[in-house]
């Protein structure tokens, strides 16, 4: 088998046993990228020379008798909203097209410390606002399963790169589903950890109280390994939680006996595609066969989650994106009359329409006279949704629901209809609102041969149970082995 086809843990084992060199791994992936990237378009920035140099450093390190740290020598890639020292970090926006950060995001630093080989930066919806990666100012990323379709978003580049074997794993960010929904649409594993488990330092903020970085991987074991590398308290992020984090790979046991699964009915209602429902229901039946118990339950406030999400996320975004004003870095309009005119033209020209739509929505929601009716009410709904989950987790170990209401949709299909696009996140946003961890794993293909995602939601900081349940499912199903190239 070609090396690029391996999972991260398989490649790492071969490297450790010196069956392959880091250079060979990098060369294999690079060669494959050269073959497929033209039709996928996952990357915004690629630097093969830099990657090969990092790989050679790892080989030298091994030759000198050192052990490679876990994930070391594996070619990987980063969503382009995480700062990389000396490499442009654009957020797929004209606004930051030339912005080169003088610092690494904490997650990037942690991966570099483990000697992972960074291939480049991945395409995304502009400032992570979107569910199809179509709002990128630079390019459209195609779904490797059907290049007429979107990869999902906003971490569409991250998901497509893993699905097309253009990286052993990638990092994405998830504000309302931006890791899980593209993972679902591209048939890979994607996890949003508990809010506060992974440092946000260096992640260009979209909605600070919802954003969380997580892995997109080829299987559940890879997910646990990457999680091990990126979680942990960071003094540079006041919202990162100081606690002891376990070795997540030790949670990977093929056993769900006695696990109590809640199945909230609100996630199976109107708007959820029948094929998706049936695949998820089949998965739940399988869990039962494997010894888990399940029960239908209710999270009554779920119906309000999407509205609350779009108010809270947009309000925070309207403030977070204020700094892109043409004064200090990034884009500045070429012609302007005075300071106010510079602000107006810079921001009008530098941002795309979806970003502007959310800035306007958020500004409105925070404005005096409207704050109570919109932002404050959304915060109250947030509390109610959080309580719904807390009550459910008094009874259940995990909740199992679909990740995305549909499989991958056609490029352009929803771009002109924001409301329809926003509905793509209906099953994922409640999790962000409550700050909980959740994973999306492949659970089958629809009639068109497009992947369907199963979402497993856990208690705060209980990624271990999620991974255990996901691992058990994966161990007893063939879905994670299905590849777009084999259709």
């Amino acid at each position: 088998m070609e090396l690029y086809r391996l999972t991260a843990h398989e490649a790492y084992e071969k490297l450790k046993k010196r069956e392959v060199s880091a250079r060979e791994l990098a060369q294999s992936v690079i060669k494959h990228i050269e073959d497929v990237e033209q039709s996928i378009g996952a990357y915004i920035h690629l630097d093969f020379d830099a990657a090969l140099k990092q790989a050679d450093d790892v080989d030298r390190h091994i030759d000198e008798g050192h052990e490679v740290p876990l994930l070391g020598g594996l070619p990987i890639a980063i969503k382009d909203n995480m700062c990389t020292e000396g490499i442009a970090t654009t957020c797929a926006s004209r606004m930051l097209a030339d912005f080169v950060p003088p610092y690494d995001a904490t997650v990037v630093r942690r991966l570099k410390e483990r000697q992972a080989v960074v291939l480049g930066k991945l395409n995304m919806d502009e400032f992570a606002m979107g569910s199809s990666t179509e709002t990128s100012a630079f390019k459209k990323t195609k779904n490797p399963w059907d290049t007429d379709r979107v990869p999902g978003g906003s971490s569409g580049g991250s998901a497509a790169a893993v699905a097309a074997d253009e990286a052993f794993f990638t990092l994405g960010s998830d504000t309302g589903g931006s890791i899980r929904q593209p993972a679902s649409l591209c048939g890979v594993v994607g996890m949003k950890p508990t809010y506060g488990a992974v440092s946000r330092y260096g992640l260009v903020a979209f909605a600070s109280s919802l954003d969380q970085i997580g892995p997109l991987t080829k299987d559940v074991k890879d997910c646990a390994m990457v999680l091990n590398a990126i979680v942990g308290h960071d003094p540079y992020d006041a919202t990162s939680v100081s606690r002891s984090y376990p070795d997540y790979t030790s949670a990977l046991i093929d056993d769900v006996k006695g696990i109590k699964i809640g199945v909230p009915k609100e996630f199976f209602g109107q708007g959820i595609n029948e094929e998706v429902k049936s695949a998820v229901t089949k998965a739940i039946e399988l869990f039962k066969e494997m010894g888990a118990d399940y029960e239908e339950t209710s999270l009554p406030y779920t119906d309000h989650a999407l509205s609350a999400y779009y108010l809270i996320a947009s309000a925070e975004a309207s403030s977070n994106l204020g700094r892109y004003d043409g004064v200090k870095y990034g884009y500045r309009a070429a012609q302007y009359d005075d300071m106010i005119d510079m602000y107006k033209k810079t921001r009008s020209e530098g941002f795309g329409s979806e970003v502007k739509r959310r800035i306007m929505l958020g500004t409105y929601a925070l404005s005096s006279g409207y704050y109570d009716a919109y932002y404050l009410k959304a915060l109250k709904v947030r509390t109610l949704i959080t309580r719904d989950f807390q009550r459910a987790f008094e009874k259940y170990d995990v909740l199992v629901v679909p990740t995305s209401p549909t499989t991958a949709f056609k490029i352009g299909e929803r771009l002109d209809n924001p409301m329809e696009m926003y509905l793509s996140d209906v099953c994922t946003v409640p999790v962000n609102i409550a700050g909980l961890p959740a994973i999306s794993i492949p659970c089958g293909l629809d009639g068109r041969g497009l992947p369907i995602g199963l979402q497993i939601i856990g208690k705060a900081f209980d990624e271990e149970t999620i991974l255990r349940v996901a691992y058990a499912f994966e161990s007893n199903t063939p879905y994670h082995n299905q590849k777009p190239s084999e259709r």
């Binding site: 912005f99 919202t239 700094r323 004003d325 925070l366």
Partner: protein
């Protein structure tokens, strides 16, 4: 109609922490532009604020010294607005849950003591500074100050005259200096004040709309601006001409206030809770330990100066109005025991010299031991009091040791009878008409003759001895 002026103040004080509020950059004043900044305080994409515990401690200390309640639970909020000196386009501040609420400061007024209520004290970060001069149509921005921790102290409108507001500001500055949380250097911008002022009929039947004044960069300017506005509001009220709620700027050069364009003040700050920071939860025990470790405050020191040193109230008031002056006094008292003499020097020559040079008590150019030495030289008759004033001027100008000045310039007082008699005889010989006048009963002539003798000795003659010997010789 009896008219009352109502003044409320908003004072911003920079906290004297070594590093900024949310990053480890230095807060030092006066560095080359943009040398004390980093990705965090310049608001680069992806960075996050890292709270400075010392800043919270200082703010709690200030709240306690101003007799406030300290909130065990408070939070930071974002105040959103666009200006190039504000790198993130929002200022991290506190909105509805400030750290400290409901305090007071007691001041002295013409009508006796008065209590000024403090509505709240909250924490926020400072902005950078725009540099307009010397760049043509462009302005440059310096972010050295961006992110320096501030407290904003908001009073109730309890001051009824600019003088009361001035007394409040003096007292506030003293308190903040005593607890060592702020340098309070207005010239460096570490203390700034906004004023809210209006006039109201005593029977509350009519009132003018409140004027906000910003850009007051010295206490003197603040008081002058208030005096100007007080007059404007009183006249408006008496003429039944209601003023409009507006923001005005003090033009120091022309000594007038000018209305700012409404565009400049039309802000909707869209406050909301800062999601990058967790709420501030303070233990009762933490607050208690800060309270117990508060240093002596101006009022307590005032009482102690009266009881311990037997100083008059007036002296104690002036000396304790500045921590540096009070410290200086007490350092003198460790090596000298006549409190009133030290007080006279400090309140007289020292403060006069400081005022003339536009300096603060922290700028006294010589150590307390020098002042005590000078006083002792007068006490033991080495120099006369008038020579001492000259020596003082020299000490103030150059920070020199008084002993060295006296020695170098040969200023030691002449108390030798023989030497003085020689001088007196010369004076009598050379001023026969005056001597005749004296003998004819014109006692004033004695003064002239003493003056002549002083002139001959270059002021060094021991005045008491000179008088005694001259009278003896004349008679």
């Amino acid at each position: 109609m009896e008219v009352q002026t109502l003044i409320g103040l908003e004072v911003h004080a920079e906290l004297a922490t070594e590093s900024k509020m949310f990053c480890s950059c230095s807060t030092e004043f006066g560095a080359e532009p943009n040398t004390h900044c980093c990705p965090i305080c310049t608001g680069m994409p992806g960075v996050l604020p890292m709270p400075n515990k010392k800043a919270i401690e200082y703010a709690v200390k200030a709240g306690l010294a101003l007799n406030c309640d300290i909130s065990e639970f408070s939070k930071m909020d974002r105040k959103n607005y666009y200006y190039p000196d504000l790198p993130k386009a929002y200022q991290i501040s506190q909105y509805d849950l400030p750290l400290c609420t409901g305090g007071y400061v007691d001041i002295e007024t013409e009508d006796g003591p008065k209590r000024i209520r403090i509505r709240r004290v909250h924490m926020e970060e400072d902005a950078g500074k725009l540099l307009h001069e010397g760049w043509g149509n462009n302005s440059l921005v310096d972010y050295n100050r961006a992110g320096v921790p501030l407290i904003e102290i908001v009073t109730e409108p309890d001051m009824n005259s600019p003088a009361e507001a001035g007394a409040f500001l003096d007292k506030l500055k003293a308190i903040l200096q005593y607890i060592e949380v702020s340098d309070c250097k207005m010239e460096e911008g570490s203390l700034r004040c906004d004023v809210n002022i209006n006039a109201r009929a005593d029977d509350k039947s009519m009132a003018t709309a409140i004027t906000e004044m910003k850009n007051l960069n010295s206490f003197k300017a603040a008081v002058k601006a208030m005096e100007y506005e007080e007059k404007r509001h009183r006249e408006a009220l008496l003429e039944g001409d209601p003023t409009v709620h507006e923001t005005r700027r003090w033009d120091d050069a022309r000594s007038v206030t000018v209305a700012m364009r409404s565009k400049e003040e039309a802000h909707d700050y869209r406050y909301f809770p800062e999601p990058d920071l967790v709420p501030i939860a303070l233990d009762k025990s933490y607050i208690k330990s800060i309270r117990e470790n508060l240093p002596e405050l101006p009022d307590q020191r005032y009482q102690r100066f009266i009881s311990q040193y037997g100083l008059p109230q007036y002296d104690a008031g002036i000396l304790t109005s500045s921590k540096y002056l009070a410290d200086y006094f007490e350092q003198c008292m460790t090596i000298y025991d006549n409190a009133k003499t030290v007080s006279n020097w400090l309140m007289g020559d020292v403060l006069r010299a400081l005022n003339e040079n536009g300096k603060d008590p922290s700028d006294i150019p010589f150590p307390p031991a020098y002042l005590v030495d000078l006083i002792k030289y007068v006490d033991d008759g080495t120099i006369s009091i008038s020579i001492a004033k000259k020596v003082f001027d020299e000490m103030f100008a150059n920070g020199t040791d008084p002993g060295a000045i006296i020695k170098e310039q040969g200023l030691v007082q002449i108390s030798d009878e023989g030497e003085l008699l020689g001088v007196i005889r010369q004076v009598i010989q050379e001023n026969a008409p005056s001597v005749a006048d004296y003998k004819a009963g014109k006692k004033k002539a004695l003064g002239y003759l003493v003056g002549q003798a002083m002139k001959l000795t270059k002021g060094k003659a021991n005045p008491q001895l000179l008088n005694k010997l001259l009278e003896r010789e004349l008679n």
